[in-house]
């Protein structure tokens, strides 16, 4: 307001009129009469998300490069939230377990939900596997289950409803491609089977929430592969 008043005082009348007309013309050109000012109806590219999952059974830390922050993944809380990240940009960090460390680098594409799974190798070393999912089945009334079979010792891995022998996922190949299905929001306990035979203890996921997304991981274990479930959560 003060600047405008000073401008009015310093300019001749004709110049002030010309300036006002320019402003009016510019406004008229920018927004047609009665129209809403133009706005975006979405971002330039789709969202991208990254999370880490600790499949080692021991306490793990992840430190993003260039940040003093650290992400703790204790055995009781093996999955981080999915964090929104810049698509197409390499994200680097260090994974630490005790005295061992592992460099990690992931580039997430638009629309992707990427998961870096940290596993214990057969020789005790740390390994990582990056899983990429581009879901197209969002549904707030159903439950989405995704299964990754990452245990090479579990051939023809399948997941059944515990105690009922009903197959949820049948004979998944050992691969990083997700197997997925939608189910109703009910209480669920699941059982891993290898070659048609139940392996390990049932995993009680509890009551599935409508709209919820859950991931099941079959990972190498001693003496048998291990199945565990995590709830897919978006960071606020």
């Amino acid at each position: 307001m003060m600047a405008a008043a000073a401008l009015r005082r310093s300019l001749p009348f004709a110049a002030r009129v010309a300036g006002a007309l320019c402003i009016l013309v510019a406004q008229a050109m920018a927004v047609p009469a009665g129209a809403v000012e133009l706005y975006e109806t979405g971002p330039a590219e789709d969202a991208a998300f990254l999370r880490f999952v600790n499949a080692t059974g021991k306490a793990l830390e992840v430190r993003p490069e260039g940040s003093g922050a650290k992400l703790a993944l204790p055995p009781g809380q093996p999955a981080s939230d999915f964090v929104a990240v810049h698509a197409g940009k390499a994200l680097r960090g260090t994974v630490t377990l005790g005295k061992q460390s592992l460099a990690t680098e992931t580039t997430v594409q638009p629309g992707e939900f990427a998961t870096v799974v940290v596993l214990g190798g057969p020789d005790g070393s740390l390994m990582q596997q990056t899983l990429r999912d581009s879901p197209d089945d969002f549904n707030a009334m159903k439950v989405t289950l995704v299964f990754y079979s990452l245990a090479s010792q579990c051939e023809q891995a399948s997941v059944q409803v515990a105690g009922r022998g009903i197959a949820l996922f049948e004979q998944a190949a050992t691969a990083v491609a997700p197997a997925r299905r939608q189910v109703n929001p009910v209480p669920l306990a699941v059982q891993l089977a290898c070659g048609g035979r139940p392996v390990g203890a049932p995993v009680d996921i509890g009551r599935l929430q409508a709209g919820g997304r859950y991931t099941l991981f079959a990972v190498p274990g001693v003496p048998v592969p291990v199945l565990f479930a995590v709830t897919d959560v978006l960071a606020p």
Partner: protein
């Protein structure tokens, strides 16, 4: 006024949304008036360009805002504006029913593809907040509009968005505006925003759809 108009009598309605609520003659006038005429206590807040996630925390708008209470005239802010978190609005109004009018701002009309992961992120953040509040809600999806225009709207993309919303706005009941008119039946000024007579028609159709919902019958004051 529909025959079942008395269903809304005495109900407190909070209506929030995007640019369809931020200019004179838009739904902040037409639909708001319909609710008031039926005896509802209505509070409408619109922020132009806002998407559902923008109502989880206060977020600056870019192209205007408006607010209206009851029979009072709406106050319009021609630019800027900020959302009020839905939890704050619900805590203040204690509404019986929340009406959400959003969809076009999730459509990415000028992009080659519908940004589904982003749309899901923005929508699910908001619906989780609504679910936690436990308030009954109705979600009004986008209308056909007309193809092209300043936003490059297309019938194909608005169909994608509406289909997405239909399965992702729970716990809200979804009103599919695409079923309320034929393609291009309601003229627009820019492809996306309707003419004043068309906003009148859209409001009437929404009103009829709302009072037909079992949810609303359950809320009706005895």
């Amino acid at each position: 006024m529909p025959a079942s108009a008395s269903l809304l009598a005495g109900l407190s309605i909070l209506m929030i949304g995007d640019s369809h609520l931020t200019s004179p003659g838009y739904l902040i006038d037409t639909l708001h008036d319909d609710f008031v005429r039926q005896g509802a206590v209505v509070h409408t807040v619109g922020v132009c360009g806002s998407n559902p996630g923008d109502w989880v925390a206060a977020t600056a708008g870019t192209c205007g805002a408006a607010e209206r209470r009851g029979n009072a005239p709406a106050s319009f802010l021609p630019s800027g504006g900020t959302t009020t978190p839905i939890t704050n609005l619900i805590a203040a109004d204690k509404p019986d029913l929340v009406v959400v009018v959003m969809g076009d701002t999730l459509a990415s009309y000028d992009k080659p593809a519908f940004q589904k992961a982003w749309a899901w992120q923005r929508t699910s953040q908001f619906t989780k907040t609504l679910a936690a509040a436990g308030t009954a809600c109705v979600w009004v999806g986008p209308a056909w509009g007309t193809e092209g225009g300043r936003y490059n709207k297309s019938f194909a993309r608005v169909t994608q968005v509406s289909t997405f919303l239909a399965s992702n706005v729970a716990p809200c009941s979804y009103i599919d505006s695409l079923k309320l008119s034929a393609q291009g039946q309601w003229p627009t000024t820019d492809g996306q925003h309707l003419t004043a007579p068309a906003y009148r028609q859209w409001a009437t159709a929404i009103d009829h759809a709302i009072v037909a919902l079992p949810l609303v019958h359950g809320l009706a004051k005895k």
